[in-house]
C-alpha cells in the first residue's frame, strides 16, 4: 500500500495547519484543544490553548511572555524524542531561529511531513542549529524569498556597529531589535566581538534576556537603560524595540545613532522608512540562498510555502524538480516584520 500523501492528513483550517490523524494544530491562530508550537514569537505562539506541546525552552519563553496564557497543560519534548499523538509520530528538531525554535516532524502511515516554523542556517550562539530532516512534504517559511535578500556575515555587521561607536564615542548607539531572539543574539555577537562593557536594555527586553540566562545562555553585564546616568549612555550600546527611538523614553539617550538590526535593512527603501541612521543586516531567518539550499537538502519532492514571497520560491524550486504550493495561512509574519 502506498503511504497517504500528506495533503490527505495535514490540512489548512481557519485555526491554522491541522494534523487530522493526530488531532493537533501546529502554531494555531486561535485557541485549540491541542497545539504544537514551533517557537515563542507571538505570531506562532498564541495564548489560550488547552494543551501545548513544544520544546522546553519554547515553553519557558511562552511562560515569560504570556504567563497563564501559555496553555493549561504544557508538555515539553526534547530534541529528537518521538511521541505518539493519535496515529501520528511527532518529534522536534532545532530550527536555528531563536532559542527553543523547532521544526515539527510528523510521520503517519509511512508518510512524513516537516513544518519548519521560522528558521535560519547561520550559526547562532544563543540557540541550537538547524537540522535538515528528509521528508515527503516540507512546509517552509519564505520571509526573505527574493534573490535580493542575501544576508552578509553577522560578525561583519557587528564590526560596522563597533566602528561607528568608535567614530562617535560621545553618542549613544540605539539598536532597534526584536525582544525575543534578535536582542539576545546581538548581545552574544557583541560579546564574541569583544564588547565586554555593560549593554543597556529598554524595559521591554529585560525579562526575556533574564529568561535566556536562566535557560543557560550567558549574556554578560546587562543593565536597564532607565537606571543609567546620562553620562553612562554616551558611547554606550542600548538595545530597544524598533519603535522606541521615537518615544519619549529615548530622550535620555545622548544624541542617539539610531540603528536597526533586521534582514529588511538590506533594501535601502525599507531602511529609510524607519528613519534608521545605521541599518544592520542581521536576520534570524534564512536568506534566499539558504532557503533554496534547504529545499534541496531536505530533498522533499513537494514544498508548501508560507508567510512570505511564495511565488519566487515556488518558481525557483521548480528548477530543481520540486513542486511548490503556496499555503495561504493568514496571520503569520506579523511579528516577523519586526523580528526578521
Amino acid at each position: 500500500m502506498t503511504p497517504p500523501h500528506p495533503r490527505t492528513w495535514l490540512k489548512v483550517t481557519p485555526a491554522g495547519l491541522w494534523c487530522e490523524p493526530g488531532d493537533f494544530h501546529i502554531d494555531p491562530l486561535r485557541p485549540v484543544a491541542r497545539a504544537v508550537v514551533t517557537h515563542a514569537h507571538s505570531d506562532h505562539a498564541r495564548p489560550g490553548h488547552e494543551a501545548v506541546l513544544a520544546s522546553p525552552a519554547t515553553l519557558a519563553l511562552m511562560r515569560t511572555r504570556m504567563g497563564e496564557g501559555a496553555g493549561r497543560t504544557r508538555q515539553p519534548l526534547g530534541w529528537g524524542e518521538r511521541l505518539r499523538l493519535g496515529a501520528v509520530d511527532v518529534w522536534l528538531e532545532p530550527a536555528g531561529h531563536v532559542l527553543g525554535a523547532a521544526q515539527v516532524a510528523m510521520e503517519y502511515a509511512g508518510s512524513r511531513a516537516v513544518v519548519s516554523g521560522d528558521y535560519k542556517r547561520r550559526a547562532d550562539p544563543t540557540c541550537a542549529g538547524f537540522v535538515p530532516i528528509p521528508c515527503d512534504v516540507f512546509v517552509t517559511e519564505a520571509t526573505f524569498a527574493l534573490p535580493v535578500f542575501r544576508h552578509p556575515p553577522a560578525d561583519a555587521e557587528i564590526a560596522r556597529l563597533l566602528a561607528s561607536v568608535l567614530l562617535f564615542p560621545e553618542r549613544t548607539h540605539l539598536v532597534g531589535c526584536y525582544s525575543l531572539g534578535k536582542c539576545q543574539r546581538l548581545i552574544a555577537l557583541l560579546r564574541a566581538a569583544g564588547w565586554d562593557r555593560p549593554i543597556w536594555l529598554h524595559g521591554a527586553h529585560v525579562a526575556l534576556c533574564a529568561a535566556y540566562e536562566a535557560l543557560g545562555v550567558p549574556l554578560g553585564d546587562l543593565r536597564p537603560a532607565t537606571a543609567a546616568a546620562k553620562a553612562d549612555l554616551a558611547g554606550a550600546i542600548v538595545l530597544a524595540p524598533p519603535a522606541a527611538a521615537g518615544e519619549r523614553w529615548a530622550r535620555r539617550l545622548a544624541d542617539p545613532v539610531v540603528c536597526a538590526a533586521s534582514g529588511w535593512m538590506r533594501v535601502r527603501g525599507r531602511a529609510r522608512q524607519g528613519g534608521v541612521e545605521l541599518p544592520l543586516v542581521i536576520s534570524d531567518h534564512a536568506d534566499w540562498d539558504e532557503l533554496v539550499a534547504t529545499l534541496r537538502e531536505v530533498a522533499a519532492p513537494e514544498v508548501w510555502v508560507t508567510h512570505g514571497r511564495e511565488e519566487a520560491l515556488i518558481h525557483e524550486a521548480a528548477k530543481y524538480g520540486i513542486a511548490g504550493h503556496a499555503l495561504r495561512l493568514l496571520g503569520y509574519g506579523e511579528e516577523d516584520e519586526a523580528a526578521a
Binding site: 527574493l146 534573490p147 535580493v148 552578509p152 562617535f168 533594501v267 535601502r268 527603501g269 541599518p279
Partner: protein, 530 residues
Amino acid sequence: MIAFAALLERLAFTPGRNAKIALLRRYFATTPDPDRGIGLAALTGELAFATAKPALIRELAAARTDPVLFGWSYDYVGDLAETVALMWPAAATSAAPPRLAEVVATLGGAARGDLPGIVAGWLDASDAPVRLALLKLITGGLRVGISARLAKVALAGLAAGRIEADAIEEVWHGLAPPYEALFAWIEGRGPRPDPEDAPVFRPPMLAHPLEPEDFATLDPALLHAEWKWDGIRVQLVATAGGRRLYSRGADDISAAFPEIIEAMAFRGVLDGELLVMRDGAVAPFADLQQRLNRKTVSARMLRDFPAGVRLYDLLFDGAEDLRPQPFAARRARLEAWYARVCPPRMDLSEIIDFASLDELAALRAGARAASIEGLMLKRRDAPYVPGRPRGLWWKWKRAPLTIDAVLMYAQRGHGKRSSFYSDYTFGLWRDDVLVPVGKAYSGFTDAELVWLDRWVRNHTTARFGPVREVEKSLVLEVAFDAAQLSARHKSGVALRFPRIARLRTDKPAAEADRLESLLRLVGRVSAVAG
C-alpha cells in the same frame, strides 16, 4: 572601493551635518592615495562621468539572473542599480574588489565593447555595497547629497586646526584629482600647493539678516548702504591662468555666461551680482533663471537674456590682495579701477546717501522695483572676511514673508498634473537636521514645474507610493502670508498659503533658513497682530 562604498552607504542614511563631516574625515584619514583623491573628486562632482548606460546594467543582469526573479526583485526594490547590486549571483573568483583609482583609470581607457566584461568581472569580485557604488559611479548616478563645501570642511579636519576650509577653497580650483599635493599639505607633509596663476575661487563674505534688535547697535555714520539686487551673487576671477565666473557656492558657471567671460579683459577678482540687464535696467529674476544651470548657451539666449554684473567689491587688483583693507578704501579702489578699465557689461552698485536709519527705512519701503530684494548695510571699516562674520554686513530684506527652505519630498499632483511631481514638502534646519515645515503646490511657472519635476526624478533617494524623497540639496524660496504656532505640526509652526516664490539653485542647502529664525519671525508677527 570598499572604503568608498562603506562611506556612501553611511552618508546615504546620515542626516546630521557634523556626523557627515566625521564620516568624511575618517574616510580621508584612513584611505590611501590615490583612492581618497579620486573619492574626493567623486564626492565633489569633479568626476562626473557616465561611461555606462542603464541598458548595459540591464544586459548584464539579463545574462546572469533569471528574468522572472529579476522582474519581481526590481518591482520590490524600485531601483535598477540597487536591484542588480543586491541580486548579482556569487561567482567563483580570486579577484579582489577593484580599487577606486583602478576603476576610474580602466574606464578611461576601455573600448566600448570591452565594458560589459570588465564590469561583470568587478561585480563578481565585490560584495553588494561595492557593487552598488560601482554601478552608480559608472552610470553617473552617484548622488551623495553632500556639498563640495562639506568635503572641504572635512578635509580641513585632517589638518588639526592648521588649515581652514576657506584656505582649501582658495587653492581648490587650481588642483585636479587625485589631489595628492593637497593631502600632503593638509597632513603637514608638503607645502601649500601654489595655485600660481590659476583663477581660483575666494570664499565670499556674507551678510547677516538685520534683526530689529540690531537697530540700536547701528551707527549710520559708520555704514555704507547699497541696494540688494535680486540676481545671483558671483565672483569674477581673471588671471594670467584664465578667466572664471563662480557662483558664491564655488561652482564654476563660466560656460553658461560666455559674454561675461569675454568682458573680463583685466586681471583681478571682483564680487558682484549677476543680473539680466537691458540698457542698464535690471530684469526680473525669472529672466536670469533662463540662463542658469546650462552647460552651453544659444545665440538666441544671449540676445534675449543678456547678462551683466553689478559690481560690489574689488578683492584683488591685479595680484594685489585688497581684502585686508577697509570697505571704504576698497570701494575707492573699485571706483578708480572701474573708471580706468571700463569693462563692458558691468556697472557699479550705487552707494545710497542717507543721514539716518529712519530715512533708510523709508527708502526701503519705497523701493518698488521687483529686482530689488532690499538693502545691504556694510561697515566702512570692515575688511573682506570670508564666511559670515558678525556685526560687519547686514541684509535688510523687503517684506513679504519669505523663507529659504530645502525640498524634502515631492508628490505627484492630481488631474492635469497627475504625471508631475508638483506637491512639494519643504523643511528648515533645526540643529543639523531638516524639519518639514509645510507643503506648497503653486507659485511656479509651467516651465519651472517641468524643471522641478525633472529635478525630483533625477534626485530621488527613496519612494513611498506616490511620494518621493529627494536629495536634500534644492533650496526653494517660499513666500507666505502668515505664520502661526501650531502644536499639530512637527515643526511647531503652520504657514498660511505657502507658495514657491523661486528656485534658489544658486544657494547651498546648508545655507537655507533655520527653524528658529521662522519661529522668531512668528513671534514678531503675532506680536504685531495681537
